[in-house]
């Protein structure tokens, strides 16, 4: 099962990881992306996220399909991305993957966040205390 959502609300790590629980799975691996309080010495107040919702959900689905090709043992995937304002120390994204044994979910969750950053049309503006906000760019 794939659970994909773009939501304006605060994300719960527990809720997202519970989505992928299955009695045949001994492992759930989770990645949580969180708003940091500074960038290049500038004090970050919050991030503002927006998405091309329909295309983003398609791109997220396509990542899930790739995961199932690469790690057929993966059971469930949940990718929740928050939109709108995300204050410092709150989660912008939570990804959870379950599998019978740990190596599949560990590798898959890492792949998911890499691919999400590279291919899902979501954008964030970093808002600073004393300077003009900046639209960020994932250039890894």
């Amino acid at each position: 099962m794939d659970h994909l959502k773009l939501i304006p609300d605060k994300l719960s790590v527990e809720e997202v990881s519970d989505l992928v629980l299955d009695s045949r799975c001994g492992a759930v691996s989770v990645f949580v992306g969180i708003t940091r309080d500074s960038f290049d010495g500038k004090k970050v107040v919050r991030l503002e996220y927006e998405a091309y919702d329909s295309m983003a959900l398609k791109a997220m689905q396509s990542i899930c399909d790739d995961v199932r090709d690469k790690w057929p043992a993966v059971h469930s995937i949940a990718m929740y991305h928050r939109l709108g304002c995300v204050p410092v120390k709150e989660a912008s994204v939570v990804i959870a993957v379950s599998s019978p044994h740990r190596v599949d979910s560990l590798e898959a969750v890492s792949y998911c966040i890499d691919q999400l950053k590279a291919s899902v049309p979501i954008w964030k503006k970093e808002v600073y205390e004393d300077q003009e906000p900046v639209w960020k760019e994932n250039n890894e």
Binding site: G33, Y49, E50, A51, Y52, S54, M55, A56, K58, H81, S92, V93, I113, L116, K117, A118, S119, V120, P121, I122, W123, K124, K125, W135, K136, E137, N138, N139
Partner: protein, 86 residues
């Protein structure tokens, strides 16, 4: 542009701020080269400063930049600045 079709144009993130609009409708020819469309949009919607950093998507699929684009009524074209999700 004469004899065109009305196409929905959608802007995101920095392109939305520069264009000053989130979504509009524009008449476009039924066939147009990628670069020609990019130039047209950049010129008309104040995107010259980021023109080299944006992609175009048609109906939620990124368009490769060496193709001609066929357009029909109800198609939508989105301006995609560099991604920064996560």
């Amino acid at each position: 542009i004469e004899h065109g079709v009305p196409v929905k144009l959608i802007f995101f993130a920095q392109s939305r701020e520069l264009a000053g609009v989130r979504q509009t409708t524009i008449n476009l020819p039924t066939k147009i080269a990628y670069q020609q469309l990019l130039n047209l949009i950049a010129n008309r919607y104040n995107l010259e400063s980021i023109k080299n950093n944006i992609l175009l998507a048609k109906n939620e699929e990124v368009i490769s930049d060496n193709c001609d684009i066929e357009l029909r009524e109800s198609d939508n074209i989105a301006v995609i600045p560099p991604l920064s999700g996560g």
